[in-house]
């Protein structure tokens, strides 16, 4: 094996998504030289097909095995399956894993939903005896959420909602107006005591720095070339580059952490340069892994210092354990009273203007529910762009068919559950004992089983939707399946977290409250792998916030020459 060694940097960051790009931004601003390694290719946000028509794409942009979320989706060389880069699920398990081999990773196409975790979310064990507490509290995190949200740009507002904290004054952007389906659901919600409130999303409502305010067109998942919908390729990465301190290496498939001769400190990482196939070493005083929950744990488990079979930073045995994803299910409904309603441009900021935050904490706490943790509901549909796959429910032909289309357009929308999962012993990842990818790197093997906490939560969601739809005179058009069939496949919601959880002691966690490995003093993790629980709130804003906080901590330690 021929190894070439890259020039040493102060910090080596693996990954360019939310956790990696924030670390690179904070540390280059602090004066450190940073080498960022990204397994995917480079990306120019100006290539985003923002106003292109689905009509101009093959198959009208329909999803295919090549581009599962559609032709224009900003996922490149990725998706559920990457040729030559398999993963496996253990017998009896099914877990699916979305990867994006592109600079900026999955931040190029995420939904931009940015709900802060609240006080209950950081101390779930204290509250109900399940899972574990985080080693940080909401109070410690609040100022970091403010700083992060102010930098990122998040719309929303500040209401008095249990466990859904306010931002400090001046942080949030004015949210866009509710659209008709959202106003309609709110009327039903108001009657039932279910809150329907402005959502929070990382989409600019005013120009900031180099980025432009949203112009209310183009699905955010295509990538946002004007920088309105937050992604690291229009913000943190160019800003880090502007310091002159960032070196970016794309096509770098990292496979292990390199240890110093003393066996105690990390000295860098080893990677395969995909362009040449050469094995290379990248050296740094500090190593930060932010390659995603699955990849970060895979790198640690594939690093065998002194032949130790359990992998690196795994004295607790927790690397790969505690794998969590968001609980997902959905129901669509049809509202006859909305037939033929006046048409207008309902695209708006594309994603949520309104949502339903979890409202039933009192009953959960009183033990009156059959599940333990909350969920939120998302509302989607209305006068959207017609899609090639959206015309299954019609009858007949000719002019009568044309009338059916006009009548039904905008009278149908759906409800989506996004819920908290409690970590359980059946959900984890490990290294497949046999299979290797095309680079020769042993692949991840996943184990997955939902518990009754999640299944019963689905029932609560279904009942709540039934009540709402009924109040509004609609009918549920999807089959209401048993929770075990209605619930998403593990990994499907693409919120996988927890494989290297943080904790208060080295005994039962992989990293401390600053994302520092308990076992290796100069090894940090800044991605979703460090989550100790998986609140129903979408994880990206918390990944960004933790990465900012913990990267400031790293900078401080570097200034003090502790590392």
């Amino acid at each position: 094996m021929v190894l070439t060694v890259d020039d040493p940097h102060d910090v080596v960051v693996v990954g360019s998504g939310a956790g990696g790009a924030m670390a690179a931004y904070v540390l280059t601003k602090a004066g450190a030289s940073v080498l960022m390694l990204e397994a995917g290719r480079d990306y120019n946000p100006e290539d985003a097909p923002m106003l292109n028509l689905s009509h101009d794409a093959p198959l009208r942009g329909a999803g295919t095995p090549d581009k599962e979320f559609g032709y224009y989706d900003c996922t490149v060389d990725g998706g559920w399956n990457i040729p030559g880069e398999p993963y496996t699920s253990a017998e009896g398990s099914k877990f699916i894993w979305w990867r994006n081999r592109l600079l900026g990773g999955r931040t190029n196409h995420w939904a931009r939903n940015s709900f802060r975790m609240g006080p209950y979310d950081f101390k779930p064990f204290t509250r109900d005896g399940h899972g574990v507490d985080w080693p940080v509290s909401y109070e410690e995190m609040a100022p970091w959420y403010d700083k992060t949200e102010k930098l990122v740009g998040v719309y929303g507002n500040n209401l008095d909602l249990e466990n859904h904290p306010k931002a400090s004054p001046g942080v949030l952007h004015t949210p866009p107006k509710f659209r008709v389906p959202e106003l309609y659901v709110k009327a039903g919600g108001d009657a039932l005591g279910i809150p329907v409130v402005p959502a929070r999303r990382a989409v600019l409502m005013k120009d900031m720095d180099t980025r432009k305010a949203c112009y209310f067109a183009s699905p955010c998942g295509r990538g946002c070339g004007i920088g309105a919908a937050f992604q690291t390729t229009t913000s943190l990465i160019p800003w880090a580059k502007a310091t002159g301190k960032l070196t970016l290496q794309t096509g770098a498939m990292v496979y292990e952490v390199m240890m110093a001769a003393d066996g105690k400190k990390a000295s860098g990482v080893r990677y395969i340069d995909k362009a040449t196939g050469a094995h290379k070493e990248a050296k740094g005083r500090v190593v930060i892994l932010a390659a995603s929950t699955g990849e970060t744990a895979r790198m640690l488990l594939n690093t065998k210092p002194n032949g130790r079979s359990e992998g690196l930073s795994n004295s607790s045995g927790q690397v790969g354990r505690n794998l969590m994803d968001t609980v997902g299910s959905s129901l669509s409904a049809y509202f006859p009273d909305l037939e033929g309603r006046p048409v207008y441009n309902e695209d708006g900021a594309q994603g949520l203007h309104a949502y339903i935050p979890f409202w039933d904490y009192k009953n959960v706490q009183a033990g009156k529910t059959t599940f333990t943790r909350g969920y939120h509901m998302e509302i989607g549909g209305g006068f959207g762009e017609p899609g090639i796959g959206g015309f299954g429910g019609y009858d007949g032909y000719g002019s009568d068919l044309r009338s059916q289309v006009k009548k039904k357009y905008g009278a149908r929308f759906g409800f989506t559950q996004r819920g908290e999962m409690i970590p359980n012993a059946n959900c984890y990842m490990e290294i497949d004992p046999e299979k290797k990818d095309k680079f020769g790197i042993p692949v991840a093997r996943f184990h997955w089983a939902w518990s009754e906490h999640e299944l019963n939560q689905v029932t609560h969601f279904q009942n709540a939707v039934k009540a709402l739809v009924d109040k509004l005179g609609g009918t549920i058009t999807s089959t209401i399946e048993k929770p075990v069939d209605a619930i998403s496949t593990g990994g499907e919601i693409i919120h996988e977290v927890g494989t290297c959880r943080m904790g208060a002691t080295a005994k039962d966690s992989v990293v401390n409250s600053h994302g520092k490995s308990w076992d290796v003093d100069n090894l940090y993790l800044t991605d979703g792998s460090v989550f100790a629980s998986k609140a129903h709130k979408n994880p990206t804003i918390t990944i960004l916030t933790l990465s900012m906080r913990n990267s400031e901590h790293i900078a401080e330690r570097m200034r003090k020459h502790e590392i």
Binding site: D56, R60, V76, L183, N345, A349, D395, S399, L401
Partner: protein, 238 residues
């Protein structure tokens, strides 16, 4: 008659940004195959297509359909006639074939992806069935039947509660063609116009305007008609 090789059809379908590769060669090559697997035996699935899709990193600004188009002249003719029966011209609204739906269906059933291949296995024999049924009812092909006679066939298979006994498979085929025709039609700029979708158009400046006064008045009326209230959206301090 419709023919995949005539430039006029391709022009009608799409602005020239989406390019088709080797369409004429493939249509010729596969004609025999279509007859072998389609025309003789109803509902015998055609030979599956193999070949490459557009890959995991296609050019998004200049899209190309890399797979050969495979429908025969006869299949395209039946497709056009059926698509126009499903969505005929109506006032200012153009017919399905006028906005290139048949060419799109050719692109769709020729795609080497599992979903499209599964549908191909229903659609290609279905098109052959249409012509056979037309012959049975005194015509030559479906496309050559008079409109009223085409409708008589459609009436046996187009209504889910009134499918003629023994015609279940053709009804399944019709439902698929209807969904595909409608999807293809309403994703064109002309189709958007018909339903009024004005979107994927940037708002010139300022915040999102929200529903029009007319749309707001309408929903308020609906909400109050249900005995509910349209309360203002709570806007806490920023």
């Amino acid at each position: 008659m419709t023919d995949s090789n005539t430039p006029v059809l391709i022009q009608l379908d799409r602005r020239m940004t989406l390019r088709w590769i080797a369409a004429s060669i493939a249509a010729g090559q596969l004609a025999a195959c279509g007859e072998k697997f389609g025309a003789k035996d109803d509902w015998l699935a055609p030979a599956p297509l193999t070949g490459n899709g557009y890959g995991k990193d296609p050019n998004l600004q200049e899209p190309v359909v890399p797979w050969p188009l495979t429908m025969t002249k006869a299949e395209l003719a039946a497709t056009a006639a059926l698509a126009d029966l499903i969505l005929p011209a109506d006032g200012d609204a153009p017919s399905a074939s006028k906005v290139g739906v048949p060419a799109f269906i050719n692109e769709w059933v020729s795609a080497p992806y599992p979903d499209q291949q599964e549908q191909r296995a229903l659609i290609i024999p279905g098109l052959a069935w249409l012509d056979k049924e037309a012959a049975k009812r005194g015509g030559q092909t479906f496309a050559q039947l008079k409109l009223d006679d085409q409708k008589k066939i459609a009436d046996d298979i187009a209504f889910k509660d009134k499918v003629k006994p023994g015609y279940e498979q053709p009804a399944k085929f019709f439902a698929r063609m209807r969904a595909l025709t409608m999807g293809a039609y309403y994703t064109t700029p002309e189709g958007w116009k018909v339903i009024g979708y004005p979107g994927n158009t940037p708002v010139a400046s300022g915040p999102y305007p929200g529903p029009t006064p007319e749309a707001l008045a309408h929903i308020k009326n609906v909400i109050e008609g249900k005995g509910l209230k349209m309360n203002p959206v709570e806007n806490g301090p920023l």
